[in-house]
């Protein structure tokens, strides 16, 4: 799918570049050449099938994508694979202390499926966690439609930063200042935008500490993320 997706803009660009300036046959030949060139271009053998990353309204983010090879380390999920899914719960449910502990339940097989769906066939400790896109604390479910391998290694947007947004939204919902459905929509649509709106408008500074997240998270085998 990503290979196809990456072809589409190139093909469109090749076609539009010549539109109106050349004979239709010339456009066809150019298009054919572009396709052949793409087909012959060597591709990394183990590149996972990971969706393209939105820029999240930030030049900094764009820069980071290139530097951190975000195609391998996604920091936002593919909405087709991970649209988000919720349990049939209310704010009254999720605001009870200990709620998330009662509903946290992702079998190893489902975790493996989450990695496989993003084309990640192997990874090192500290690369990812299997994240609930809509966090359990916001009524998210353990469905595969709500799970994705979230990177620890990307900066500034990574699993630790998303935690801050999750906690912020949970507090707002439980304080009655934000509707649960709205909070779920914020985090499911684009959590980076949600962070900018509800936590702070600028990306968080890099962490000096290498502390791991709490061990109650889905992915426990990871070690400190050290590039």
């Amino acid at each position: 799918m990503p290979a196809t997706a990456s072809l589409i803009p190139v093909i469109a660009s090749a076609a539009s570049h010549r539109r109106g300036a050349c004979h239709p046959c010339a456009s066809f030949v150019a298009l054919l050449c572009a396709l052949v060139a793409l087909a012959c271009e060597p591709q990394p053998a183990a590149t996972p099938a990971v969706p393209s990353q939105p820029e999240a309204n930030s030049d900094t983010t764009h820069h980071v994508i290139a530097e951190d090879s975000a195609l391998r380390f996604p920091f936002v999920p593919d909405p087709a694979r991970t649209p988000g899914a919720t349990l049939d719960v209310t704010a009254a449910d999720i605001c009870v202390p200990g709620y998330a502990r009662k509903v946290r339940n992702v079998p190893a097989a489902v975790k493996r499926q989450a990695y496989a769906e993003y084309g990640i066939l192997s990874h090192q400790p500290g690369d990812y966690e299997v994240d609930h896109l809509i966090s359990l604390e916001l009524g998210g479910s353990n469905s595969i439609r709500n799970l994705w391998p979230q990177s620890y290694r990307t900066h500034p947007w990574n699993a630790r930063v998303k935690d801050a947004l999750e906690n912020n939204l949970h507090k707002r919902v439980c304080a009655g200042t934000l509707d649960l459905t709205t909070a779920q929509g914020v985090i499911a649509s684009n959590w980076v935008s949600g962070y900018r709106k509800y936590v702070r408008p600028t990306p968080p500074p890099p962490r000096a500490s290498k502390h791991r997240r709490r061990s109650t998270r889905s992915h426990r085998s990871a070690q400190p993320a050290v590039p």
């Binding site: 899914a85 009870v96 009662k102 509903v103 339940n105 489902v110 353990n142 595969i144």
Partner: protein
């Protein structure tokens, strides 16, 4: 995902062991197990039961086993109530008599 192995559900078993399934109803494809303490467990299955399906076992729960494809309630009399799951997770939810969440997967 076949989920052939039915492992003991270590989270749910201690919660409902000892409770008795008093009645089983259906809401479309969702099985609704009513326990004697008025707690209710809902299980999302792939499809509603057939009209001529045999009645499901009821009795006191001894243990719960689960795979990615089914959940099984082992009863004190040695019988088992087994229900297929609509998906690997996010199908089982238990609320107590007051409606408070006790368990969800």
């Amino acid at each position: 995902m076949t989920g052939a192995r039915m492992a003991r559900n270590q989270k749910l078993t201690p919660v409902i062991a000892g409770r008795t399934i008093a009645q089983i109803g259906w809401d479309g494809a969702t099985a609704i197990l009513h326990f004697d303490d008025a707690s209710v467990l809902r299980v999302r299955t792939p499809a509603p039961p057939a009209a001529d399906a045999a009645p499901l076992e009821i009795g006191k729960v001894r243990a719960v086993r689960q795979s990615t494809a089914a959940v099984a309630f082992d009863l004190d009399d040695g019988s088992t109530l087994q229900l297929p799951l609509a998906e690997a997770t996010s199908c089982v939810m238990l609320r107590d008599a007051k409606g408070a969440m006790e368990y969800a997967d």
